[in-house]
Symmetry: C2
Subunit: 278 residues, 2 copies
């Protein structure tokens, strides 16, 4: 099936907006994590692909909606004008809806057409929908918006980060591990790794919003402070935030010993996440 509509699909403006957002050069961290976890536990074949694509579709939908004027009102994303700046607010909302729906289309179609174990596939659809829903991604975004302009405490910042960013990163890894046939202790190890890198990833995002370069990041910096967002640097300061992120990555890597030499790509990803400048 087509995961992304063609240039000439109907309605043209919607399909252009969906393509604009998904083909805009993201880092593809969630699909990469899913595939790395799949490989790390000895997964064979390409059954991970529809699920890896679905993760990126969900991530992209969440970015489009987060950037909307009613939310973060961001003008740039990945160095280009945000979807609502190019296609208008209505089409941006609907392009997000189309991508979110498309994630489930991609997974169900993939499971049926490529003979992927249906119980496993259904479990994954359940895990992804739960992660993306009100008790996950959507809940984190609501708290992010609600806490703006208030003096946030550490539990609130942690709630926002674990739900808004951490949950989907963790789910990506768990899905990869499950589909790769992980034993329960390997799934457990990858889960512990995922909880830590998910949080570290968002702490680094917060840090980059303070000290990063707009040209490298492809979006405006300083926007968290301007909007009085609940962030780690805001609550514990830059130096402590850096220390926290580094410790989390060390802990994450320590959990991977059970995977022996197959752990290497996941270790490398964890190190990249704190080193990155965009």
């Amino acid at each position: 099936m087509k995961i992304v509509p063609n240039e000439r699909d109907y309605p043209p403006k919607l399909c252009k907006a969906m393509r604009y957002s998904i083909l805009n050069g993201g880092k593809r961290i969630r699909p990469i994590l899913a595939m790395a976890a799949f490989d790390a536990v000895g997964g064979k074949g390409d059954t991970i692909l529809p699920f890896a694509c679905a993760l990126e579709l969900i991530h992209t939908y969440s970015l489009i909606h987060d950037d909307l004027p009613a939310m973060d009102d961001d003008d740039f994303r990945r160095g280009k004008p945000t979807v609502h700046r190019v296609f208008g607010e209505a089409v941006a909302i609907l392009a997000g809806d189309g991508l979110l729906t498309g994630a489930f289309q991609t997974m169900s179609h993939g499971a049926l057409e490529h003979g992927i174990d249906l119980e496993m596939s259904m479990e994954i659809i359940r895990e992804i929908s739960q992660t993306a829903g009100f008790s996950g991604l959507v809940g984190g975004q609501v708290m992010d918006i609600e806490s703006e302009g208030r003096a946030a405490d550490l539990p609130t910042v942690e709630y926002i980060h674990t739900h808004k960013t951490g949950a989907l990163i963790l789910a990506s890894l768990r899905i990869g591990a499950k589909l790769g046939g992980a034993s329960s202790d390997k799934l457990e190890a990858i889960t512990r790794y995922g909880e830590r890198i998910g949080l570290a990833f968002q702490i680094v995002d917060d840090i980059l919003d303070v000290i990063g370069e707009s040209s490298t990041l492809g979006k405006e910096v300083g926007s968290d402070e301007a909007r009085k967002k609940a962030t780690y640097p805001g609550v514990v300061g830059i130096e402590e935030s850096k220390r926290l992120a580094e410790n989390l990555v060390k802990e994450a890597i320590a959990h991977l010993t059970i995977l022996e030499e197959k752990a290497e790509p996941l270790e490398e990803i964890a190190r990249y996440l704190v080193r990155r400048t965009s």
Copy 2:
């Protein structure tokens, strides 16, 4: 599982908004159609329930997003202020996202926990996601927005109606029939019925927006004309629209003969759809 979050679930504002929209006394036409089709083909048990609930969640999400200021900018729905009027635009967008995601959570959880045939369940998830996505519901809404203020022709009005309203009504019936174990000729008959009542339903909606009572409808009337929407009365006039709707219902009912006496509830629903005043 909980299909709708509790009053005290977290984040409170999001859960309140989701409950406000879904427990707001809708007609529940889509679940009713799914259950009626299930019964009409001799379906047994309650395997239809998670899917019937999912249809209502998707319908409700689409109403919340359609009502947003960036779209139809409606202040009332079912006699009460719209979600964004009560909870703000950001929470309204996210409550819609939560309901859409919740539909897939409800279906996957239902399939796994209630031992519903997994291949059938996956087929249904595929059909619903396709119906809700860019080539269905979302596509219809984009064309609805895009055609505002332009002189619409009949093919455009038909595209909008079949996608925005007809597609989910048709899918509701097909899902019920499939899950009820319909033979291919019965599924075909219900599909033909569904195509016709889906279109009739939306034509009647258009008519009610012109000649209905705001107090009965629970929303403002005359808004289609004010916003220069592409509608049947706008293109072919009120009388011709009425005649079209009545003909469609007659044709729909004629397709049900294969179901014999089991067709009665579906016939009654079709007659109600043109008779209704809200």
